[in-house]
Amino acid sequence: MLSLPRKQSLIGYVLILPALLIMSLLLLYPFFYATWLSFHTKMIGAPAIYVGIKNYLDVLASKDFYIGFLRSITYTFPAVFLKLILGLGLALILNQEFKGRRIMRSLAIIPWVLPVFVVAFIWMWMYDYALGALNIILRSLGLPVVRWLSIDNAMMSLIIVNVWKGFPFFFMGILSGLQSVPQDLLDAASVDGASTIQRFRYVTIPYILPVIYIVSLLSIIWTYGDFTTIWILTRGGPGDASLVLPVLIYQTLYAEFDAGKASALSILTMPFSIFFIYLIVRLLRR
């Protein structure tokens, strides 16, 4: 006969079993299927043929993979850094007491709530060389117009879009962190003669640091996997100026119709994300 704690524990497992099964189906099945596919040549509409590690060797021998990885990194880190700076700055401002603060907070999250394809199309028009708002403003100011999506500027312009869309996430996260900073601690620091910067550095930052870590790591993972914005605005071009890994995977699947190679490519992009997921899990445990 089972003891009461073991019985309770067993009931607990039984109760979470349906959720576990659903989670497994939703998360693990696609992952294992992609892994299985990566060892096959699988043209769309044709049966899979086992090819061992050939797809991986093909991907690793391809220059595009390394270009894609480099472009992904070039896109991800500056974008996340800028989102952090903007989000932090805005959170500090909108954490102050002033009239209209609630309206400002609501307005600040608009880019975040807009669907990503809407954001991409808005910016596509803004960036248009002849008819776009940005160049119209520059022209009206007598300044030279910019080819926002040229080979030299495409990556910067994509980062701007990503930052515009993503900084409210940092803002919301950091603002919630700021609201958890005890006022009496800040007051005590003031009494002890700490300047505004010192209070921020030694009281506020330690409180909001875990939030900053989490939102930054999540943002790295999401930005690294961003596809829609880039596909709509540049399709990886001009040349290979914005050929990030998600675009390369998409092209492999829908241009080459090769699900096996696309899967191998996807699996090979994962260690980067897994590293940051690992960091998040470690942080959450602390």
Partner: protein, 318 residues
């Protein structure tokens, strides 16, 4: 679909519209319409400059016209040709290249790929020269597939090549420019063909075939209820319908072009390798390697040729 085509009347179909769905002598597709890419030209500027346009308008003649009206200092360009990472770049390239004698392959195997040719070099030189001399807008290398539409509709381009979507938009939003636009077809017209297939797994293929015969046998209904409301975006695949439409001034260039509209010239047959190569933007990348990266023309053509060879090898062997 051969029985369906025969029942509707094989003789009335334009030949490319049957070939586009035919493999090894068997028709697997019943075409519904074709979508020709035509020159859209500013008639008012032609008149002002006293320039005559021949029909069909060759790419060489188009460039000559472009040179006469080009004014990049005022952001006005002779050729609104896209060179960006989009489908229209390849589509416009096809029209140019085929008219220069180019073709993707002579036979469906890797050794049959014919991208490396003097026609390709001539077509590349044509575009590179036009771009360098600013006959084409500098930002054309960044356009999406609507870039040339915006160029023309925004008053930046003397001529562009496009299906009828521009005319449809102009008819609604800019009737003045609509009336100032002359439509002319090039010697070989690029254009996709869209149609019906019946899946092997279809439970009632005979019923499906009856339905298709019913839909396409009534040419009057096909013309009035399907073709005409498209403003030229959907052009007829029937000779008889095209003949009727030639009597209407707006439709005349579309109806004339329908006969010469190819998805892939000269064979216009299904080709898996070309289906894969198109979305990979190999032609676009070849052009951008030269224009943006300063790569040697022959090296870029070699690269593109080898890309096509490897794709053809995958599907059809050596």
């Amino acid at each position: 679909m051969d029985d369906v085509i025969n029942e509707i009347g094989r003789d009335d179909f334009f030949e490319p519209s049957i070939k586009v769905g035919t493999l090894e002598g068997k028709a697997y597709q019943l075409s519904l319409w074709c979508e020709p890419y035509l020159w859209h030209i500013r008639k008012d500027i032609l008149e002002k400059k006293g320039i005559q346009v021949k029909t069909p308008l060759s790419w060489i003649d188009a460039k000559e016209i472009a040179e006469k009206v080009n004014d990049p200092a005022n952001d006005f360009y002779g050729l609104g040709i896209t060179l960006g990472m989009n489908e229209d770049t390849t589509n416009q390239w096809n029209s140019l290249w085929w008219s220069f004698g180019g073709q993707y392959y002579t036979s469906k195997r890797a050794s049959g790929v014919t991208l490396k040719s003097s026609a390709t070099r001539n077509a590349v030189e044509y575009l590179v020269d036009a771009y360098k001399r600013k006959l084409i807008p500098p930002d054309a290398v960044e356009w999406d597939s609507a870039g040339n539409n915006k160029c023309y509709m925004g008053g930046r381009g003397m001529m562009v090549m496009n299906p009828a979507s521009i005319m449809y938009s102009l008819s609604k939003d800019n009737p003045d420019l609509f009336n100032k636009t002359l439509l002319v077809y090039p010697p070989i017209v690029f254009g996709g063909t869209n149609g019906f297939v019946i899946y092997k797994t279809c439970k009632y293929p005979d019923l499906a075939k009856d339905l298709l015969v019913y839909i396409l046998s009534d040419k009057k209904s096909y013309t009035e209820r399907f073709i005409k409301p498209s403003w030229g975006y959907c052009c007829p695949i029937f000779k008889s319908v095209a003949e009727e439409l030639k009597k209407i001034p707006y439709w005349e260039p579309f109806a004339n072009a329908a006969e010469f509209t190819y998805g892939s010239y000269p064979f216009n047959e299904p080709c898996m390798a070309l289906d894969e190569a198109g979305p990979k933007y190999i032609i676009v990348k070849m052009l951008q390697k030269i224009i943006l990266e300063g790569q040697d023309i022959d090296a870029a053509i070699d690269w593109a040729h080898n890309e096509y060879v490897s794709i053809f090898r995958k599907y059809y062997g050596d």
